[in-house]
């Protein structure tokens, strides 16, 4: 199986969120960047497990600038075979999806794995767009995947439950919790990653469909109102009269 795993760069979960350039850009000053957790823990690790069980190749694809190379090397250290970075500064999901789809059309893959969303833009968009551009099935929020030949049985989250679907390759999934367990790269993996191929390709032409005009921070939360543990009736009354929540 040839598997393409799309990864994004994301600020570490505990990063301070601040903005620059008249609130139009995320302030990267002092921010630690990581592989977007859903892409790494679920999409990449499940792809590696499939390769370990049945052979094949796992390619990492990232759309971004040279500052993304460290997170691409991290993905190689976890066990991917090779990587491609498409040189582009776009932050628009549809443009990113077009880059991935064009690359995929020219280098066929059996499966394309993405994470369910990035932890910065929380869009949940790119994987579905890639599937449509390739005219193949898309299984969103996949929590389990098993393969038999070129048929995959996939569990996906739906409202209040789980749906089991069957698809044949090629297809695209977005991976969610349950797909796999996070792996920590070992020293051998880190050493090997230095010499694994990372190809940089120019961007395919595309126009942005969306653009962030401005970021804002939520208003400061007012202080927590404490109720004495011996007076729970007071809490019920506050929730009814003040918060109007019950």
């Amino acid at each position: 199986m040839k598997i393409l795993v799309c990864i994004s760069k994301a600020p570490d979960t505990t990063s301070k969120i601040a903005f620059t350039d008249n609130n139009s850009k995320f302030d990267e000053n002092g921010v630690q960047f990581i592989v977007n957790p859903y892409d790494e823990w679920y999409a990449l690790v499940r792809a590696l497990e499939i390769k370990e069980a049945g052979g094949g190749n796992v390619t990492i694809l990232n759309v971004g600038g040279a500052d993304n190379d460290p997170i691409i090397r991290k993905a190689l250290a976890i066990g991917a075979d090779d990587a491609v970075r498409i040189e582009s500064s776009t932050e628009d999901a549809l443009s990113v999806a077009k880059q991935i789809a064009e690359y995929t059309k020219q280098n066929t893959f059996d499966m394309v794995f993405c994470g369910k969303e990035t932890i910065d833009y929380n869009g949940s968009q790119v994987a579905g767009m890639v599937a449509e551009l390739l005219n193949v099935p898309f299984v969103s929020l996949a929590s389990k995947l098993s393969l038999s030949g070129n048929t995959a049985t996939i569990e996906r989250e739906i409202e209040g439950g789980v749906e089991v679907v069957e698809v044949t390759t090629p297809f695209v999934i977005s991976a969610a919790k349950g797909m796999a367990e996070a792996r920590i790269p070992n020293m051998r993996g880190i050493m090997a990653a230095r010499t694994k191929p990372l190809t940089v390709l120019p961007a395919y032409s595309s126009q942005n469909a969306t653009k962030v005009k401005a970021f804002t921070l939520p208003p400061a939360k007012s202080a927590c109102k404490f109720v004495d543990a011996s007076n729970v009736e007071e809490l019920v009354s506050l929730l009814h009269n003040e918060a109007k929540a019950i």
Binding site: T13, I17, F19, P37, Y38, A93, L94, I119, D120, Y121, N122, G123, S124, Q125, V126, G128, M129, A131, E132, V136, P137, V139, S140, L141, E157, I158, E159, G160, G161, E163, V164, E166, V167, F171, S174, K177, G178, N208, A209, T210, V212, F215, T216, L217, P218, K221, C224, K225, F226, V227, A229, V232, E233, L235, V236, S237, L239, A243, A245, I246
Partner: protein
């Protein structure tokens, strides 16, 4: 020109998220002087209630072959409806089905998509939509640059407004493409209230000390008409099922009222619940980070506080009925 709303049904009735998407589309139609048209796939009751939210026309697609949800087929039907109604704006709910279909439609129509919108678009200078980013720690005003625009609306974020018109229900038909996806089985926890749709959620963590102590959490949820949830460690040790796990890696929820009982409030947990309108934290540790995110707090032992709270809620409910 029109606004098309994809309104999903479940077991023959419109979902709560579908009603919210219709409300959003109806309000946007009034604001922009457009007609709001809903598209419903599959047999459904109560479609005329969409008129209450400003929907003047309902396209009802009832061909066979759509009983199983296949996003590729649904995308095709929505795209055909966009064409026949000359729609320039398409509205989805940002839920499980919206996350499958809206991105596909965006690529198919080459239309910009803002997913997880929390307010009506700003149409004064261009067309931009506000959404939560960085797992709820900030907001972004995103401009859509294409002529056709797609918005998926975050559940429980835009207030419903009564905007009564008469909804004309018309059949809608189109050929379905053949696709490679087969739905084998749907497993639903039908007895429980869906966690992402619940108005009130009672959640507990490691502070409960063991799975045998969840009875009082269920009692509180039952008294409030709430769904139950849990923190990640609790799901990982197997005290509670994984589908109850809320937080960054689990479900992100936005109820009106969220009870966090014996949960310290790690940043990863908060990322999944910080969209809740009101948060109540109950914890023995006065320094628990959850108290910084909470609106109301009780510093105390859950084993003492929760049973008393159950009684207080029952008493309140009895006197209010």
């Amino acid at each position: 020109m029109s606004i098309l709303i994809y309104a999903e049904t479940n077991n023959g009735t419109l979902t709560k998220n579908a009603i919210e998407a219709a409300n959003y589309g109806g309000l946007l139609a009034s604001k922009t002087g457009n007609k709001a048209i809903a598209l419903v796939i599959g047999a459904s009751n109560g479609l005329d209630q969409l008129g209450k939210y400003g929907i003047s026309k309902v396209l009802h697609f009832t061909n066979s072959g759509t009983s199983d949800f296949d996003p590729q087929k649904v995308t095709h039907v929505v795209a055909e409806a966009v064409k026949s109604e000359n729609s320039t704006i398409v509205i989805f709910a940002h839920d499980y089905s919206g996350k499958s279909v809206a991105p596909r439609l965006s690529a198919k129509l080459d239309a910009g998509l803002v997913s997880g919108a929390i307010a009506l678009p700003n149409t004064e200078n261009g067309f931009s939509v506000k959404k939560a980013v960085f797992s709820g720690k900030a907001f972004a005003e995103v401009e859509i640059l294409t002529s056709t625009k797609i918005i998926s609306v975050l559940p429980n974020s835009v207030e419903k407004v009564n905007n009564q018109v008469t909804a004309e229900i018309v059949p809608f038909n189109t050929e379905l493409p053949s696709t490679q996806l087969k739905v084998k089985e749907i497993k639903k926890e039908s007895t429980e209230l869906s966690l992402t749709e619940a108005d009130i959620v009672v959640s507990a963590g490691r502070g409960l000390k063991g799975p045998e102590n969840w009875g009082m959490i269920e009692d509180l949820a039952h008294a409030l008409g709430a769904a139950t949830a849990c923190s990640r460690p609790v799901a990982d040790i197997g005290w509670r099922p994984h589908h109850e796990h809320v937080g960054q890696t689990g479900l992100a929820i936005r109820p009106n009222l969220y009870f966090a009982i014996g949960i310290s409030g790690a940043i990863q947990h908060l990322a999944g619940v910080n969209g809740s309108k009101i948060i109540v934290a109950i914890n023995t540790d006065a320094e628990a980070p959850f108290f910084k995110a909470a609106d109301y707090g009780i510093i105390g032992d859950a084993f003492d506080v929760v049973p008393k709270l159950v009684e207080a809620v029952k008493k309140f409910k009895a006197s209010n009925n």
